[in-house]
Amino acid sequence: MAELSLVEAVNDALHTELARDGSVLVLGEDVGRAGGVFRATAGLQQRFGRDRCVDTPLAEAGFLGAAVGLCMAGWRPVCEMQYDAFSYPCLDQLITHVGRYRWRTRGRMDFPITIRMPYGGGVRAPELHEDSPEAYYVHTPGIKVAVPATPADAKGLLSAAIRDPDPVVVFEPKLHYRAPRGEVPAGEHVVPLGRGRVARVGDDVTLLAYGAMVAVCERAAEAADASCEVVDIRSLRPLDEEAILGSVAKTGRVVIVHEAPRTAGFGAELAALVAEKAMLDLRAPVVRVTGYDVPFPHWQIEDAYLPSVERVLAAVDRVAAY
């Protein structure tokens, strides 16, 4: 066990997986010689060489498309998108090819691509450095999506993603890249996709969250009068429906929290799931606390946009009083 920050845990996962499997190849902008703008890929090029940790041209669509070809040539590419919103140019390749190619071949070829990127707000950055784009990815057929909240899960989910035969996108909450530190198992550490985690046990209200919002929910749970259970979703697809519905069956009251804009965000998917499969367990409407349907704001007012402890507590009060 070691005490690592989230981004150190990501680095640990990459070192471990590149050492374990000679077909894993990291690529992206500034990942090689510079070790990544967040140091997520530090030491990889020095240890494994320029052909295993590759500095690509500034071309997200180009290198994600190249990753498709690399898979055909027998490689297991791990693409870094430098920031959440910088991934948008790659969405064409993701939707038109990455999510479809295996299906085109009727299962005869695998495309084990991993895409990882820092995401989310609260870091006082210029526009298009703090987005939460997970909905575009999880809505794309053929794609899996994971969002760690802790350093241990950052290592575990990324390792699972790299080993997965399907394309997996991992969203790393950059707000927590350097703090808090957490215990991270040494050596190979895999957290299978499709499993949520109960971050805090409670009886009265279920708080569903992922990424940086898990900590916000934990702080709200501490301050709330109601006894709140915090479920860290961890894997948006495949989704751990059992963990979610199990918690709802216990509490009957649900608050969903995410940074991304409200309309058609992943919270809408969770709300629909709960409404369809846990209707008779519910004792209150399902409430979402989300970013607003506006572009992510100028950072001086980003705190007014991001779900805060106060907004979560207001939602908890609303469902508890119903």
Binding site: L25, D51, T56, P57, A59, A61, G62, F63, L64, G65, A66, A67, V68, G69, L70, C71, M72, A73, G74, W75, P89, D92, Q93, T96, H97, G99, Y101, R102, W103, R104, T105, R106, G107, R108, M109, D110, P141, G142, K144, D164, P165, D166, G194, R237, P238, L239, E241
Partner: protein
Amino acid sequence: MAQVLPALDGDSVPEGLDEHDLLELYRRMVLLRVFDERAVVYHRQGRIGTYALFWNHEAIQVGASYALRDSDWIFPSYRESAIGLVRGLPPATVLQWWRGHPSGWWSPAEWNLGSICVPIATHVPHAAGLAWGKKLHGEDVVAMVFFGDGATSEGAFHEGVNLAAVMEAPLVLVCNNNQWAISTLIEAVHYRATPHATADNPRLYIDLERVEQERERECLGRFERYLRRLRVVDDDVVERTRRAAEDAMRAAIAAAEAEPRPDPELVFRHAYADPPPNLRDG
């Protein structure tokens, strides 16, 4: 290939090709020509869906791919939908693609042939990545990607080319400059004298006289006249080659239509190697 065009107007065999090569090039061009002609007929008969013609593109497709070994990869656009025939891909498979049947999607690994690429230019990075990836493994493999003149306006084309250049990947880019990106005129090497696809009505944008001129210079006719001058082919060879291609197409459409309709279950299969549990919710 620039070497061959002038030779077609003369009587000499280009360096590096012998009579066997010329006959094989001819056979492949006839095969593609007959495929294309029959596909248009099947479309009109309602037996295949909307179809992208490649009439008079056969020389480019056959000529460029002739330089490849079986281990080299081809990345086709929809204009080269039948290029796999030169490698023995069954014509029935390509017909099935145009019939919307799942068995039209061959496995690229089986033929070293990428899937037909519909979104313009987006396969150029795939080809760049394959060539780069093979080089990294120390394998002597070239990737050849076909695209049209219109594709050179897309970002993906430039990103793929640049990446291949940066990685020094063995990528051959074949720009089929037929002067049309559906209906936008671009500068040229040959001239698409047929519609973009069966759903297209070129009378809205073409010069009919120019089309007629180009039809007289079409590549298969020129090649045949050249081979006749060299006495590599005669009426007998021409007729036998044509008949073999027609027999192959007859068998192909029969095989395609004999295949059972796809099982609707296929909707849920193959999207994932390891599918999430809720895939059937809907």
